[in-house]
Symmetry: D3
Subunit: 320 residues, 6 copies
């Protein structure tokens, strides 16, 4: 992190400053809470109190930052320099309570609200999947009901979990009920694994959601999958990516691993293909560092954030 | 595990009882040794005294049980609720001796014999691959000579290992010699890696066994592979799955890892494709927890047991 | 676990049944929820939603059970066979909610209430330290206000944590306020490390609590420490042991590690020295398996439960 | 390692001598520095002082040797027994300085020079990628300018790194400048990930190098990729394989992991396809054991060395 | 890290902001390179190119920062609030070259020079032990020849290492030769383990250095050891602490572990006892995260920095 | 390993040849099976088929060798250069069968017999504790009945284990029965933990064995313990050290860990104190690398072998 605290997204030259040196921010971007003149903010949401199996995602933002230290300026696949086109900062973390999901939701919604009101595009690092609900609350308050591209092994559209309305298994049903997203513009990609009830996928589909199971993606191929995503996710759209959409071989560090998932090459291609969408925000959740090894999950997560940002070039107009 | 000890395969509701809570049985099934009215039994065989490289598979049953805790009632790929159609119990482990392969074989054969005589379908959790011999002894005693679908990186049809007849490298030659399986109904799938002698595969083929190397599977594709399996494995058939058929990226926790293996998606599809066979039993072996990480091998193993069980619906008639 | 479900605390003979075989219960004790004729019950409380730093203690009961598999019948240090003198069962886990501390507290209090009302001595496996509050509620309802021996690196007597009354940092202030324990019969042992405010220890002392810091224990020696504990903890007494009282070298798998702690030899001796107290219950908390290695923390925890139980022989009268 | 120290490449019989027994040499080959009558030598170069991110590759040779212990005599994919056709020895390691890249380069060049002058084909185990420069110096001194097949996620053709000419990011630009390799006979395979500057790939291409990105390989397919490689790498050719060409799921133990890489099956097939080339040497670099798990990276590396050696049969004429 | 960038050492309230949240700086101190009005600066020196066995210490500063996140305001052992009495900042890391020890020494000396000239007390986080030489150069330039308290398992006073003058085994011989420290005011504490030559300790003693082996410390006791340290280290003094002075049980994450070392309790007491010395700086080196587990080494290191800082209260006068 | 294969125990200069370089032999000693002119041989016995809980000790010799790479020529505690006074070689491993305890015992006895008959002092690296029986058979054949100093957490004097006479729990009862050792000259040191039966220690004592429990050692102190050992272990004596005598904090990588053990400092001092005994051999067993971390157990084991060897200087007369 350069001594200059003003938000400018020039990365330190990795041929001069080693990648492992310095205060750990996302991609060595400057840390700042000043949002004036900023286009994009990386925002950590270290909350995992909504997780039903393995926790640890509260350390997700810290480790994704560490995993991002190898990111460099130029994305040759998309032929863009995302940090050069936008002013990107690492906003730091929302100080959400580890012991109360209600308090945390309020803190997250308020923090994201600040970011969104400043017309800054948020790249959110979770945390477990419950955090997508307050993120969507902040986004929908500004943008109105959104479309949603939701990469996940699990539908996360259950109604009640442990007798409660809020957990990492329910955010998108709540989001539909609250009018934050519209079911007909909502597509789930990568669903797989066993389900509590035979009716679960029908329930999701009954809500009007389009479900593309991993088997569907494999059968259709990636191009057709992207076509289908673009067909559904029209208008202003949020992207929520649960790292467990990827196979545990590529992303062991997660809370509810399901076998038979996408490869890293496949998920990178899918994220790169989101360029044409009119995105308003992005969250990447469920990275659980205590179960990671060789930091490969955190590195994959950091790259997916980078790829998503890269698709924004040309679509977003820098401020001022 | 619910307080009611009677064998009924209703899983606790994972939306009420957390998946990490309770005495660890396979998929939270009831633990019972009472086989009356039972259709399927999960039987642990924690023996690894036949392993020639890394050991640790004696902890396989314990960790596969832990890895199974996320399994849920409904299998959407096959559109079945396997635990609802059958009465499935976790029988526990055979108390086999860690220091004598001969004693262990006797203990395993006797325990499996009880299960088989009760007309209960065994889902066996190894242990190293040597255990398949006493398992086959018990099965063949009831069903006569069997066909065999054998997923593995290694042929395991050597004659002598360290000067002895019994080890994890010889079970299927013994099984042929003892008339437990018939070579022309025996197919090996996923063989790869270097071999002690140029004649090894010919030896296997000389026995009459069909060998589908991983390269063959990749070239033929999964559908043709399944067709070939079904062509060979006619009549009553046992399935033996060595987790090292999968690449170490997907299954690091195993005893003799070979690179270049199947992906988790591929093995899941192959297991799902066994539905048409007339199965009499299943064993899954060589999961070695000390070399696992993030429990991804154990979770994969648990899912493969679940998929195999799911294929039985419609083929097996529940008792009574 | 023997097929016989009746609660009798005979361990399987480890010279016949391998220690790694069988459904994993505490020390291979029978699993039962029937409390008639039972003297002591091991009760898992897999809740970690009150933890403020590393979580993972929800897997504590499962891993302490695994770590207990080497426990054998005879304790030579105390010259007793604890499982032979009492009928001890593994009751299983309280199905507490992972996403709500309030719901969990109710579930824990209710479950422990059943155990206590049946005049069964509870050996509670946590879980984070917040669970001690509902445990004490259940105990005090039956026994009246208790004394408390509290081994810990941290006082856990803060008032408010993240704006809330309940967390793993506040249980014992709540317990004093609710009249569950009496401050003048409450001794904290092993406190060390930095504190949020200079007044924190004075606050604890201001409540009337006796604080023996690790430095005090080292200076006084273990015998004098035990004398002091026995002086304070008169009458009916609960023991709560946070594994972080031990140094991270001996117990790395914990949530808020503090350097400079007790050794395993020291904590074993202190627990053994509790024999003269009139105990009503015991909880051992804050074992966090994702941060453990070689399972050494879980094994230490299991041994401390065993030592505590061993001190009861002679003090408790078996039922019926 | 058999007691007979003479260099003969008969492996101990793995059905008699366990694979985990004995002094650890590559594939249990004899250790010898006598090069008379030797055709191929495995040479360790444990230097990682040129690495810019994670180090640890200094332990690469030791762990690749351990990972090679499962290699057996016959390669069924290529239908050859490589150790039977050639006399292969494990030469041991170059004693290169851990604290000076200049001293190490001199030591490496001198040691490899001895090997090459003795007309022995070197299989070099790194170390970080900087070591390829002194290896090429030794090879080019004997063979003249070489072609190069370079598997890697990164181009390693930068000019200056941290203000210096020598590091693991610059060896091939130096090699071109020094006339050790010819750019038009140099192909990079597997390049991917973000780059410091938009001009980086153009720079490499500007040197005359052919760059096949991972995306290109996937699009062209493996056969077309191999055709392209063979088109470019004419005449005498060196092969340099950075293990990070493989995805971190298959090779987590490396210094600068990049997501979206090749699978183990793909890299094995590419290496096997190098048979038609006129090779003069091989190095495999950037295996970093501290970040490996289950030893899967080391095992993959050992297999790639074995596959490369297997392709030599028929192409090389044994000495004498 | 609060948005306010001005250097003030108020920690965020850990009862409000979770310890795992926020950009990772030492103890959540503000990150700043502005040294005006600053009393103490934490300075990372992520260089490990001087290490002769395991590397990885380049990740030391990052992981010690993570390990420091639990540090709280008040040190009850010394009854001080160190961050309240001084203005302490996290200066970040020196951007030293990973591939050249000469370049790195210049970068380190220059950066430390800035800190020292600003009359700021440096708390240096290594890095391997070679970095102490440029640190001492910067300190001695301002303060003149210093005394030295050197905690270590190894003397680090060798003359030549791999034919070179600079490595992690030679800094203190160089420092004596360059007049940066005075041998008669230099005490080594904790030396143990085997040595290359019988004359090695005599060599150190021949230089005039006092060597207190671990055996001496154990025999004398900690109080007498501290008396001896204070006798020798008169005048202005630097403290250099190699974490391997501690036993590998307490500090596994280090480069050249030696068994039979101090416990964490012992090293904490020794550091606390340095209060009476007239310190000018402190470095803590050789924390190697790839070999750490449960982060226990990093947490111990962070605590030792905190204890050292705590001893300064009363001895140092805050700036203007 | 120097190219010269003749057995001379000059270590490579660690200031010239890095410690991580070269074929891995114990302390970089030459590997040789030629015993003429040799005084001491390090002999690996990679057998763990007698282990009843965690296995993995078959990888013990390989990892202890790796852990020995830091050993240097001079032992300052004992003021000796053990490798300079004797000709010490690394003999390699006994090729014992992994699948048959009977075959392995024959192989071990034969190999050790060769060593002993050549009047070479064996330093045996296990393997599990069952191997001590064939080692003692070989030694007693030459030296007659021996005394025994046995460091262990467990008595290993059970009669029958899993219905068999041979396992890692029975070697010393067999050795007494076979007249290999004499019970009145046999002392067990460090016994602790729970026991299967109340009579177990009395059984051992009934055999005439002296049992010093860890509690006894702590109470008596190390000097009195050594006095007692020397009183009992008169005449020719074997030393057998099970690494689990040490606490799991210091030696996590072992098969049957027991809490409350010795520290590394204590065991080092006890081994150093064996100098006055008339030793004929030494074995160190039960190092299980899959459960080790940071290699701290292997490093401790290597140091204990080194300390034992160091005590021989002055007691043994070099050959020829």
């Amino acid at each position: 992190m350069p001594p200059d605290p003003s938000p400018r997204s020039e990365l330190p030259d990795g041929h001069v400053v080693p990648r492992f040196a310095g205060i750990s921010t996302f991609a060595h971007l400057p840390h700042s809470r000043e949002l004036h003149d900023v286009d994009v903010a990386v925002v950590g949401v270290p909350f995992d109190g909504g997780a039903s199996f393995r926790t640890g995602a509260r350390f997700g933002p810290q480790k994704i930052r560490a995993g991002s230290s190898l990111l460099r300026a130029f994305n040759p696949a998309l032929q863009v320099e995302p940090f050069a086109e936008f002013r990107v900062v690492d906003w730091g973390d929302v100080a959400c309570s580890p012991i109360s999901i209600e308090d945390s939701f309020a803190q997250i919604e308020q923090a994201l609200g600040e970011v969104v009101r400043a017309e800054v595009f948020p790249l959110v690092l979770g945390g477990d999947h419950s955090i997508s609900l307050p993120v969507l609350r902040a986004l929908a308050k500004r943008h109105g009901p959104l479309g949603l591209v939701h990469f996940d092994a699990h539908p996360d559209t259950w109604d009640v979990h442990f007798g409660r309305k809020y957990s990492h298994a329910t955010p998108f049903r709540r989001a539909i009920e609250e009018g934050l997203i519209e079911a007909h513009r909502y597509v789930q990609v990568g669903i797989r694994g066993s389900l509590p009830k035979a009716s679960d996928l029908d329930d999701a589909r009954g809500l009007g959601v389009t479900v593309l199971r991993t088997d569907d993606v494999v059968e259709m191929g990636l191009n057709a999958t992207l076509d289908r995503i673009r067909e559904i996710a029209t208008g202003r759209v949020h992207v929520s990516l649960d790292i467990d959409v990827v196979d545990p071989a590529f992303a062991p560090g997660t809370g509810t691993p399901e076998v038979g998932g996408l490869s890293s090459r496949e998920i990178v291609r899918l994220v790169r293909g989101l360029g044409p969408l009119e995105l308003t925000g992005f969250d990447l959740v469920e990275v659980s560092p205590p179960y990671d090894h060789g930091e490969i999950t955190a590195i994959l997560a950091a790259n997916l954030v980078y790829e998503l940002l890269s698709t924004r070039v040309g679509r977003m107009r820098p401020k001022g």
